[in-house]
């Protein structure tokens, strides 16, 4: 689980960002990039001493100034779930592709024709049969 993938998945979620200078920013993540530069909305900024507060509609934080980010615990499971679902979807899509292409390849010499529309379903059927 890459830290940047966790951050990308945290878009629209609330988080706490502490900067190297000790200031904290509480807000919802709008966007982030590979340098971990982030934009937050509805931000509550607290000074390093904890005595001064600001409310900002939106702010941009440079990644190089961040010390750490605190995100909701539920996010980890949500991201892992999403990654698993994406992997399953990718696998099934690739599987259909492979069996379809294989059937077409093998069908060509015996058929001798590429543009045989009537042949196509049968070719596909053969591929599907092999796949199953």
């Amino acid at each position: 689980m890459l830290p940047l993938s966790l951050l990308n998945a945290a878009q629209n979620k609330p988080m706490l960002v502490e900067l190297k200078n000790g200031e904290t920013f509480n807000g919802h993540l709008i966007n982030c990039d590979n340098f971990m530069n982030i934009t937050l909305r509805e931000v509550y900024q607290t000074s390093a001493e904890g005595d001064r507060f600001w409310k900002l509609k939106e702010c941009y934080i440079r990644g190089s100034t961040i010390k750490y980010l605190r995100v909701p615990d539920t996010l980890l499971d949500a991201v892992k779930e999403e990654q698993n679902r994406a992997r399953e979807a990718g696998r099934s899509a690739r599987g259909a592709h492979v069996s379809g292409a294989g059937a077409r390849g093998r069908g060509m010499p015996t058929r001798g024709g590429r543009g045989m529309v009537r042949g196509a379903p049968a070719r596909g059927g053969r591929g599907r049969g092999r796949g199953a």
Binding site: P3, L6, K20, M36, Y68, R70
Partner: protein, 95 residues
């Protein structure tokens, strides 16, 4: 190649540049040593009282803030009674 791969899904101790000590399960890392820690707790050491453990939850720590990542031996860690430990907090990094 000094890699953090061996620590994934293990309980680790993270020491940060400001002297903080955080324990948690390492969920992930990247080339810049940014680390994702789940179920993390900060251990605050003092000379007057025992170690205070503050639960923090899911944490993403920037690699440039990390001093050291140590693999926690769970057996040894369980046997330590944190309330009896007295120590100065770790000094911060000074360049």
């Amino acid at each position: 190649m000094a890699s953090l791969q061996g620590y994934v899904d293990h309980r680790v101790l993270l020491i940060l540049q400001d002297g903080r000590a955080i324990v948690g399960v390492m969920a992930g890392f990247d080339q810049k040593s940014n680390v994702v820690l789940s179920d993390s707790k900060e251990r605050v050491y003092s000379m007057d009282e025992g170690v205070e453990e503050i639960p923090l939850g899911l944490y993403l720590v920037k690699g440039d803030q990390i001093v050291l990542i140590g693999e926690l031996d769970d057996a040894v860690d369980q046997s330590v009674d944190l309330s009896t430990v007295r120590a100065e907090p770790l000094p911060p990094i000074r360049y």
